[in-house]
């Protein structure tokens, strides 16, 4: 049932969206020129300018929303709209990762066995890739990128799993502290969460360096390298974003933006963090362990 409490708040016009579009436009033009081998101002500089505009837009837009929220003009209905917005946004992110997990499963279950001659792939194997025995990990019958080794699951990845799981616990403690009105505990638990996140990223970077420098495992290492780096890379980008959002929340908590009842911004970031956490569990199992 729809609920209406008082008149609904309809914001006045805003210039932030168009600023955001200009930022997005500049970013992608710059990026496209860059990867097409461009050098001048319309390549990397344009991309960075665009990213800067997007960051500027986010400060401005979220700043406006925060000011409006603090001045108390939002009612319960606005709050529910924000919640739904965040939930469905996270769902869309889940589907984005699903595409890459789908690619991983398809490669492992179908395309690699087929080029290896299994199932109905006999002729493909005979005519095109004779002598290739399917296995996983693989960089394919063409040995794309040269032979490589993989990251063992039970070292850094295991530590990273524990780090992220712990961060899921600490953010819940932080939420409880917020609801109980204990700001000091809130700040400590939140800082711990950020700390776990940053440590995770540090280990992830170490792992990438190890892969590139010692294991010859790169983005170009056939289908294994592709799925490995795209999945863990996009996940790492989400952890980075999540850590930035947590940091913003830390400052907002310190400034006393949130009340015991009213702290949607915090909750949205917590949901996002849990989502990042769950994706990692999928990665740990399907990319590292199995």
């Amino acid at each position: 049932m729809a609920q209406t409490q008082g008149a609904y708040y309809v914001p006045h016009g805003s210039h932030w969206p168009i600023v955001g579009s200009i930022g997005l436009f500049s970013t992608v033009i710059g990026a496209a020129n860059l990867i097409n081998g461009g050098h001048g101002l319309t390549a990397a500089p344009l991309m960075y300018l665009g990213l800067a505009i997007i960051v500027f837009m986010m400060f401005g837009w979220f700043g406006t929303v925060i000011r409006e929220s603090l001045s108390g003009i939002y009612n319960n209905q606005v709050d529910v709209s924000f919640r739904m917005g965040m939930m469905w946004f996270i769902f869309s992110e889940v589907m984005f990762f699903a595409a890459f997990f789908g690619a991983l499963f398809y490669a492992r279950m179908y395309s690699v066995p087929w080029v290896g001659g299994e199932g109905h792939g006999g002729l493909t194997n005979y005519y095109l890739w004779q002598g290739y025995t399917p296995s996983w990990p693989t960089n394919g019958p063409g040995d794309i990128g040269g032979s490589f080794e993989t990251i063992p699951a039970w070292h850094l990845p295991l530590i990273n799993t524990l780090l992220l799981l712990s961060s899921g616990v600490t953010i819940t403690f932080a939420h409880h502290a917020l609801r109980a009105g204990h700001r000091r505990a809130l700040l400590v638990w939140l800082a711990a969460t950020i700390g776990f996140g940053v440590t995770f990223l540090y280990f992830q970077a170490t792992e990438y360096m190890e892969a590139y420098q010692h294991l010859n495992l790169t983005l170009g290492s056939g289908i294994y390298g592709s799925t490995f780096f795209m999945l863990t890379g996009f996940h790492g980008m989400h952890v980075t974003l999540g850590a930035i959002m947590l940091t913003v929340m830390w400052f907002r908590c310190a400034k006393g933006h949130f009340t015991r009842e009213n702290h949607f911004g915090f909750e949205a970031v917590a949901w996002y963090w849990h989502f990042v956490d769950v994706v990692w569990l999928g990665l740990f199992v399907f990319v590292y362990v199995l």
Binding site: W88, F89, P141
Partner: protein, 540 residues
């Protein structure tokens, strides 16, 4: 674009609109303004994509190479489809949703008005990017809208631009869909129960779910294309253990729900219009909702019917064949209910109704050809021929586009306060409905005879039907200029003022506000009494 601006004088005093043209349209958070922006944008894209179609039909007028280079021909088929799908049909539906959903559920605006603005204002930039790719070194995209690798990766600089343009369209669609879901679930006036909502609102609720579920998958697919081309990954490279067919699976996991994204809101529109002009309640309201929901569910599990000829295992062919055929059941329920709604109704045939009836008949033809394509052994023959082209143009042009036309004629008086010219509306209808069949019906025969799609030249055996089809094409294209004329006339020149109900048989909250709808409506939630609603007396 300025059309609403000229009615300032009709509006009540409490209507405060931002001053200044740019300020108003760039910064707007008003669902009606944003709806208008979407609709105008969709019309511009419809004409742009339409001009490309004219080039295609001109080249195909006769066998042999006539006018354009093969590369340019391929660019035209690719960009025509992308523009029509992502620039015309989808934004038109989002524009209709923006205008009508708040009015139909008694909400003051969309749930997230600022994000609503952003959803729209990404699109002009995205399409600038897409269309500019035609002028780039190494030419524009030529691999077809389905972007199959390895062909699509063999383009020049444009590949990156096209992919980023698709990312931007996806961001826009996802934000638009989130907004629509939040509006429907959170903003209904008290008393507007889910099972009293207009069918158009229901169809959009389900469509928005499809959008959020599959646009990110498309984003993933094109991202893999990007990294395969520019960063050395091997997703679609068999030598590296990947598979070009994998792209097709991921693409069509998006692609089949996508075709339903383009038709479910059309179902909703037709289910609004037919009861109004048959002066009877919609037959089987709840069955219609269940049918939409089951079509949406099935659309996730039939994708590989686009890939019967790629060499799937037999079990896969059989599964996807039978699953696809299941869709005919809920679709049949809908067609049955539309026909039954008209049965013994006291019907009148104003332009919206004409388009809606044409929709029912011609969309059904498209559904039948779809069933033929779903039969695996038959599809081995039809795949990648003009039969497929005929199929999807029946469901998309006489389906989606006709429903959009119908809805514009139906709701335009509510938007601008004036009636359109019924005589010119009818002329537009008859010109369109005849020419569209001249255009697309012969393509069935061409396909059955074996003419492949996406080629600029063909065997002389196909000459006659191609010429007929091209004549139909030019005729249909020219007829759409009438539509532009009818709309401009209604908005700026018509002296025939609309009442708030507009149509005698119309039911629903949108008809309780004045025509034109004031800039802000339902600032206080309306008191709903069931007799105002089309489906107010549904018992459950």
């Amino acid at each position: 674009m300025a059309h609403a601006a000229v009615h300032d004088d009709h509006h009540d005093a409490h209507d405060h609109k931002p001053q200044g043209f740019l300020h108003r349209w760039l910064f707007t958070t008003n669902h009606k303004d944003i709806g208008t922006l979407y609709l105008v944008f969709a019309l511009v894209m419809f004409l742009t994509g339409g001009s490309m179609a004219m080039i295609i039909r001109a080249e195909l007028f006769q066998p042999g190479m006539q006018l354009v280079q093969p590369e340019f021909f391929n660019e035209m088929t690719t960009v025509h489809a992308l523009v029509m799908i992502f620039g015309a049909v989808m934004p038109a539906f989002v524009g209709l949703g923006n205008w009508m959903i708040p009015l139909q559920v008694g909400a003051p605006d969309m749930a997230l008005p600022r994000m609503n603005n952003w959803s729209f204002w990404i699109l002009p930039f995205a399409f600038t990017l897409l269309i500019s790719s035609l002028f780039m070194p190494g030419a524009g995209p030529q691999g077809g809208w389905t972007l199959y690798p390895p062909l699509s990766l063999q383009g020049g600089n444009s590949v990156a631009f096209v992919i980023f343009a698709i990312h931007m369209m996806g961001i826009s669609s996802i934000m638009g869909a989130i907004n629509i879901i939040a509006t429907i679930l959170n903003m209904r006036a008290p008393g507007m129960d889910l099972l009293k909502m207009p069918i158009f609102v229901w169809s959009w609720l389900i469509t928005a779910f499809l959008l959020i579920a599959v646009m990110p998958v498309l984003a993933g697919a094109v991202t893999m294309l990007l990294t395969d081309k520019y960063f050395g990954t091997s997703f679609f490279n068999a030598a590296g253990g990947g598979d070009p067919v994998m792209f097709q699976h991921i693409f069509w996991f998006f692609g089949h729900p996508e075709v339903y994204i383009m038709i479910l809101p059309a179902f909703g529109i037709v289910s609004e219009i037919i009861p109004t002009f048959a002066r009877k309640p919609l037959f089987g309201y709840q069955a219609m909702i269940y049918a939409i929901a089951s079509i949406a569910f099935l659309s996730f599990i039939v994708w590989a019917h686009h890939m019967f000829t790629v060499g799937m295992p037999l079990g896969g062919e059989l599964y996807f064949m039978y699953a696809t055929m299941l869709i005919a059941i809920p679709t049949g329920v809908k067609v049955f209910n539309w026909v039954t709604t008209m049965w013994e109704g006291s019907m009148t045939f104003e332009t919206p109704m004409l388009f809606a009836i044409a929709f029912v008949i011609l969309f059904t033809i498209g559904g039948f050809s779809g069933l033929m394509l779903a039969i695996v052994p038959a599809d081995f023959q039809y795949h990648d021929t003009y039969f497929v082209v005929a199929h999807f143009h029946y469901v998309l042009v006489t389906g989606a586009i006709f429903a959009i036309m119908a809805s514009v004629y139906y709701w335009l008086p509510k938007w601008c306060g004036n009636m359109y010219s019924e005589r010119w509306g009818k002329i537009h209808f008859w010109m369109s409905v005849i020419s569209v069949n001249v255009l697309f019906f012969p393509q069935h025969f061409l396909g059955l005879a074996g003419m492949p799609r996406r080629i600029p030249d063909y065997n002389v055996a196909f000459a006659d039907f191609n010429m007929v089809s091209s004549i139909g094409g030019f005729w249909f294209g020219a007829s759409q200029l009438l539509f532009v004329g009818v709309v401009i006339h209604a908005v700026y020149f018509s002296k025939n003022r609309a009442t708030s109900r507009v149509w005698e048989g119309a039911r629903g909250l949108e008809w309780t506000v004045p025509s034109p709808a004031p800039h802000h409506t339902f600032s206080e939630p309306p008191k709903i009494d069931n007799s105002m609603l089309a489906h107010g007396d549904v018992t459950h």
